[in-house]
Subunit: 188 residues, 2 copies
């Protein structure tokens, strides 16, 4: 049922995502679907989260800058090149006028995904690659959150160069004399 | 008409925002409203943008870190303590399933607001307070964009401490040995 829901979501977006559609595609009855998922929003969130989980695992080479950069490149690629971008944006968009959807978005999509980044950053903090006084939730907002914001506004391109600059700015700072004084070599 | 539209928007949010309501409150006819604004979304965006413009001016003390911090504190206060937070979130949320609304959001709200931050950052770059190789659009996403993302997800509090950490992380970096090694003194 989750696979059918994800297929429909990727194809139709939230506008064409209905319990009827998932029932037709999966062979399950609407009664069965509603037994497991109270609303189509929750079903869409679970289906979507399940489908991106294996793609968005975090590498662990021991170098936090390289690991986060690799993860962000995968993330921006997913948002830019697949239906995942539109789906994520629509789900978070719908959450703005639907408090139940907002709670489900946090619980089903955001919390599990976000904890992967926080866990990697915390391990790096324990290895002293990140200062101990740094609030990692804020760092997460400035890396993955900034990608999501760019997705939602459509203001500038989501690409590898963007991912690289996000990491450099936060890791090294943007002041003269801090960290690198030249842009990093292209990392692709 | 813009004042009436803003009043209705702040009171009712997008759910209760209608051309009828604005007509009743302003005394203008619906025909007149539609003559000036093609959709209620565009009217809502113009009314909202006009109402926050004077609040969100950028200080110019010559110290980019202080100026950006002051602006971000005003911005998070506006999003947290007034109806502006819900209104902005709903407008950007609606843009996710409405391409006309998305274009209007970029043109009417985002571009003018964003250019204020970019202009201040560029002046600081010319004063050599920011490295010349830094992409200021990315910095904007990591400061104001991160605030918007936190607003949209409701994941963590929007407060002065958050504003301070956003600025410190980006200006000084989060690696040991870069910039400050202790958290900044509370700046309130």
């Amino acid at each position: 049922m989750l696979a059918a829901a994800d297929e429909l979501l990727q194809r139709e977006g939230m506008a064409g995502f209905t319990m009827e559609g998932v029932a037709a595609l999966s062979g399950a009855s609407k009664v069965t679907l509603y037994k497991w998922w109270a609303t189509k929003g929750v079903l869409a969130l679970e289906a979507y989260s399940a489908s991106v989980n294996h793609i968005l695992s975090m590498p662990d080479t021991g170098d936090i800058e390289a690991d986060v950069l690799a993860h962000l490149k995968t993330f921006v690629g997913l948002l830019r090149d697949t239906a995942a971008g539109k789906v994520t944006a629509e789900l978070l968009g719908a959450a703005q006028t639907d408090p139940e959807m907002a709670a489900a978005f946090r619980r089903i999509y955001l919390e599990p995904r976000r904890s992967i980044g926080i866990r990697a950053l915390r391990a790096a903090q324990e290895r002293r690659q990140i200062r101990v006084d740094i609030d990692l939730e804020v760092v997460s907002d400035q890396l993955w959150g900034a990608c999501m914001y760019r997705l939602l506004t459509g203001w500038q391109p989501l690409d590898d160069a963007f991912a690289g600059r996000l990491v450099t700015n936060v890791m090294c700072g943007i002041k003269p004399g801090n960290g690198r004084t030249l842009p990093p070599a292209p990392e692709r």
